[in-house]
């Protein structure tokens, strides 16, 4: 037996869930079609078979019910891992997440909490999914004190962050970049490991500009950094990994060094989380900034179908923005 297995991102999720369920019998998975079928993306494959139906089951088709039920489970002392089939369908659960889960501990004066809650959902574009199978709703949750928001960008992170999320004492929204569920392949430890929440990863050290992103955008950012390198531009690349609370210190330090920041996400520009990052960083790095902080994001429309490629912030748009920033 080796220590690592080569697997893709969705297999790493499945492996993370398996690891969590094996380690703690209080861990329960629930959601639409996640039982025998193993979920529409196969995240829960074989878990019902292995751990029994009471611990891994199909729910009726109601996201608000799934979230509410999972909050109740968590309040009772179980560790609830709920799947929302697509992040686009998390909105019926918005009240349960924002008014309930996020405020559960606070409003009770810590008499009660639902920290055992994790809500997983595939998110983002890239699968010809149009308006309702492509959205990136992370910013909605990042404006909600009491929640944590986590997004992995590769298989190794997926397992380690998921295990940390499941065991975190606060409710966590865990968005999975479905565009790279199969495309992102890497060595994943067979062991039970956690990656600390709230800590960004410096993927590449550089000196001219800081490129910041999360999820599937890291691939676009990586490609753009390569294009830039070919022109002699040295990019520092940071993968945020946890959006709430986000690792501001790491970003501040980087921007103080590079003097430039570009943030990229798929969600529409206005009100997206890049705005928060830009606002926060201009405050702390005002005197170091040599150019305005640049946002390369989706545009302010619903997510399209036929013009998905045009809509999405890709390596070329990031590359152009890097050059503009350097030329400022």
């Amino acid at each position: 037996m080796t220590d690592v297995t080569r697997m893709n991102l969705i297999q790493a999720i499945n492996n993370g869930l398996d690891t969590a369920m094996a380690a703690d019998e209080k861990v329960i998975c629930l959601g639409e079609d996640i039982g025998k079928f193993g979920g529409v993306f196969r995240a829960t494959s074989n878990l019902q078979e292995k751990y029994g139906r009471p611990r891994c089951f199909n729910t009726p088709l109601t996201e608000q019910g799934i979230a509410g039920f999972a909050i109740g489970l968590a309040a009772q002392g179980s560790v609830a891992v709920a799947e929302i089939q697509f992040a686009d369908y998390i909105f019926p659960a918005f009240d349960q997440i924002v008014n309930e889960a996020a405020k559960f501990r606070y409003r009770s004066g810590d008499e009660f909490n639902c920290g055992g809650l994790t809500i997983r959902a595939p998110y983002g574009g890239g699968i010809d999914g149009a308006l309702y199978h492509s959205q990136s709703p992370e910013a909605y949750f990042c404006h909600t004190p009491g929640l944590k928001v986590v997004i992995p960008s590769n298989a190794y992170q997926a397992k380690g962050l998921l295990l940390a999320a499941i065991r975190d004492p606060d409710p966590v929204i865990f968005f999975e970049p479905k565009a790279i569920y199969r495309a992102s392949v890497g060595d994943v430890p067979n062991s039970d490991y956690e990656l600390e929440l709230g800590v960004a990863e410096i993927v590449q050290v550089g000196t001219d500009i800081t490129l910041l992103g999360w999820g599937a955008q890291m691939i676009q950012i990586g490609k753009a950094a390569e294009l830039a390198a070919a022109e002699g531009i040295s990019c520092e690349v940071i993968d945020l990994r946890t959006l709430l609370p986000w690792d501001r210190d790491t970003v501040v330090e980087s921007v103080k060094k590079t003097g430039r920041l570009l943030v990229s996400h798929e969600a529409p520009l206005t009100g997206g989380f890049a705005g928060e990052i830009a606002a926060s960083i201009q405050e702390r790095c005002f005197l170091s900034l040599e150019a305005p902080i640049t946002r390369v994001t989706g545009i302010d429309t619903p997510f399209p179908l036929i013009q998905e490629k045009q809509y999405l912030p890709d390596h070329l748009k990031i590359y152009e923005a890097i050059k503009s920033s350097l030329a400022y």
Partner: protein, 389 residues
């Protein structure tokens, strides 16, 4: 597919009006039993406790509405008229069954042992409030008493109760969940999600729909067109019963049976208690804008507390002089505790940021530090209101 349904060749529509859902009644207004009715097993001590807690709650409610009028309290909301619906149900449950209420169930909390001081601490948001002064008055909660902290958003506790009870089932300790909500809350999507999930996933939860005829100003005829909330229970395949919510014996009998079903059969139960909100919706409300004094008077005749008192007296378990003493003592106790709680210091500023997360993250600590500095600069402008200076 999975439904049993005989074939028919007649295209007949059914709007449910042929489905009879009777109302369980045992006790009459004068305290005697309806003919043919059976008293549930109810020991004298327990009957006394139920009665005392109902009286206590009535007095607490009167007193606090008064205190609100005097400006000593920002907000209050009574259980008045519905004490039996709540006391009769909670009395049938075990102390460690979880209660998830709406907000009008303070008698359940009293039944569990919440002290007058604890009520007052919450109502006056003082430093001793278990909820750390964070929520409006009447948002009680107690981990020790297995009474989930009340929240304002309606119906959210219903799917949560289904989940909580499912967890209890897996834990295998024969506990269950008791979940209250109103006729108005039952219109929320969360009601549907919660009852259906409980039915499908077989959660041991007893839902108590307090049908008091109103949701603030909205009549139940503007809330639903079917046969109350009970008719929906039938639709979910949930064992359902309707009771006269002003009849303590009927409520208790139904609740005892309901808990048995929930725990023995590991499935949900729905009890609909038919009653009336005798007071205003809350101290912010004035019902004269939407209902008549006559209607209120009619229901005052059916007061659940008087009815129970009459029964107790008929049983020779109670008498008027004991009743007077009880009232007097409770009034005194409540007034004394009220005064103490009013004077108790408010929670510290640091409570503003704790419990957002288990461990307060750096960005929030930083925000708090600058807030502290600011408040220190302008101490007079940030006196906590109600705080003695």
């Amino acid at each position: 597919m999975t439904v049993k349904s005989p074939p028919t060749v007649a295209p007949v529509f059914d709007d449910g009006s042929t489905v009879q859902i009777p109302t369980l009644r045992i006790l009459q207004a004068d305290g005697t039993l309806i003919s043919g009715a059976q008293t549930p097993e109810l020991a004298k001590e327990l009957a006394h406790k139920i009665y005392r807690d109902m009286v206590y709650t009535r007095i607490l409610d009167e007193r606090m509405v008064g205190a609100q009028r005097q400006g000593r309290l920002s907000f209050y909301l009574t259980c008045t008229g519905e004490e039996a619906s709540v006391a009769g149900t909670v009395a049938a449950f075990k102390q460690d069954d979880m209660i998830m209420g709406q907000y009008r169930e303070q008698v359940a909390l009293r039944f569990r042992g919440f002290s007058t001081e604890q009520f007052m601490n919450q109502l006056f948001s003082n430093a001793k409030d278990l909820g750390k002064g964070r929520q409006m008055p009447v948002h009680y909660g107690s981990r020790d008493l297995h009474f989930m902290t009340i929240r304002s958003p309606l119906a959210t506790q219903i799917p949560q109760a289904a989940g909580y009870a499912y967890g209890q089932k897996l834990a295998g300790n024969n506990a269950c969940t008791l979940c209250y909500f109103g006729d108005g809350a039952a219109s929320e999507g969360d009601f549907h999600a919660g009852l259906n999930m409980a039915a499908v996933l077989k959660s041991p939860v007893v839902f108590v729909a307090r049908n008091n005829g109103y949701a603030i100003s909205t009549l139940s005829s503007e809330q639903y067109a079917g046969n109350g909330i009970a008719a929906r229970g039938l639709g979910y395949g949930i064992k359902t019963i309707r009771v006269d919510g002003n009849d303590i014996l009927a409520v208790y009998a139904a609740a005892i049976a309901a808990r048995n079903i929930a725990v023995q059969e590991q499935r949900p139960v729905l009890i609909e208690t038919m009653s009336y909100r005798l007071g205003a919706h809350s101290t912010s409300d004035d019902p004269s804008g939407y209902r008549s004094a006559e209607e209120e008077d009619e229901w005052r005749q059916k007061d659940p507390i008087i009815r129970m008192k009459n029964w107790l007296i008929n049983q020779t378990w109670w008498d008027e002089s004991r009743d007077e003493d009880l009232h007097k003592n409770y009034r005194k106790e409540i007034l004394e505790e009220l005064k103490l709680a009013e004077k108790c210091p408010k929670p510290p500023l640091s409570d503003l940021i704790t419990d957002v997360y288990q461990d307060t993250p750096a960005h929030l600590l930083e925000q708090f530090e600058s807030l502290e500095k600011h408040v220190a600069k302008y101490p007079d402008s940030y006196k906590v209101h109600g705080e003695n200076s």
